[in-house]
């Protein structure tokens, strides 16, 4: 578990995630072209299977790693006796809050090998962003999130995301706003508790 400066993105992992499958696919194509120019099983494996595996990796690999990291996070929190009943799973980040011990735990999609457990006193502010935009009948939102700052790093956790714009009084949006408001309150409460300790 890390307690140092929060890094939302591990750039080595991000570049490896993008470039390694691309390099393997290119290598596969080169081997297929060079050694199996006349076709056959080798050509199918290197010219087709390797690039398909690379594409599958780009589509599913990150989610699989993130899913494994989430399970590992829960196990580590249990081992450290950190209360994880207050936990929020988002698409890009998992936030867990132990109000009693005033600790906030975080795991990021693009940095899945680092689990941050920090004193809640390091959270400087928290707020809700309803993402409202547009005018008149087009006024609505496609994203609701809560944000907080830790050591000056802004962390956004989405509670509602859509590829369409929804009206602000839609049930899905209201639920997203409610979740965000609840988490802002929890973060503020833990922050104040952390400041007192």
């Amino acid at each position: 578990m890390k307690t140092d400066h929060v890094k939302k993105v591990n750039y080595v992992y991000l570049l490896a995630y993008i470039l390694v499958p691309a390099a393997l696919a290119a290598l596969g194509l080169w081997i297929g072209y060079t050694f199996y120019h006349d076709g056959g099983v080798g050509a199918v494996i290197f010219d087709m299977c390797v690039p398909i595996l690379a594409i599958l990796w780009w589509v599913f690999g990150g989610r699989i790693i993130y899913s494994i990291a989430k399970k590992r996070m829960l196990k580590k929190l249990d081992e450290a006796e950190i209360d994880r009943r207050q936990i929020f799973y988002s698409d890009g980040c998992v936030v867990s809050m132990d109000i009693r011990q005033a600790k906030v735990a975080m795991l990021f999609f693009w940095n899945p090998f680092a689990l941050y457990v920090l004193p809640a006193g390091r959270v400087t502010r928290a707020w809700t962003d309803d993402g409202a935009g547009g005018v008149g009948i087009l006024r609505g939102t496609s994203r609701v999130s809560f944000l907080f700052e830790v050591d000056g790093v802004k962390i956004r956790v989405n509670t509602f995301v859509s590829n369409q714009r929804w009206k602000l009084n839609d049930d899905k949006v209201l639920e997203g706003i409610s979740k965000a408001d609840l988490w802002v309150q929890v973060l503020e409460q833990a922050r104040q508790q952390g400041a007192e300790v």
Partner: protein, 116 residues
């Protein structure tokens, strides 16, 4: 009262089926439902659940974010004295509400809750 009107009224919570009279509203109360939080709403039709989990609050501002609330209306029949309670669970979100379905208790099951 026509036949169609009678059939339609039978479905109204403020209609006494025995006396065939419109009931009077005898009380309104806002309750907090602390055991239900946002994203975890489950409809209950068991009166015991509400007897154990409803807490009367004076105003909407007393309900913390993410917690469900219940707007309750009690109707009383002026003919037979029967009481009906209609619960409208909702999630308060700033100045708006996410409404869930109404639950009607026709046999005075929640009378104890009103006496809190």
């Amino acid at each position: 009262m026509g036949l169609l009107d009678g059939i339609l009224r039978r479905r109204q919570p403020d209609w006494c089926r025995e006396c065939r009279l419109e009931m009077e509203e005898s009380g309104e109360q806002l309750f907090a439902l602390p055991c239900m939080s946002v994203g975890h709403y489950v409809e209950h039709t068991d009166p015991e659940f509400y007897q154990e989990n409803l807490y009367a609050v004076a105003q909407r501002a007393d309900i913390p974010p993410g917690m469900y609330a219940c707007a309750a209306i009690q109707y009383r029949c002026s003919g037979c004295g029967k009481r009906v309670t209609v619960l409208n669970p909702f999630l308060p979100v700033r100045d708006q509400e996410k409404r869930e379905g109404s639950i009607v208790f026709r046999n005075g099951e929640l009378d104890d809750v009103w006496r809190q």
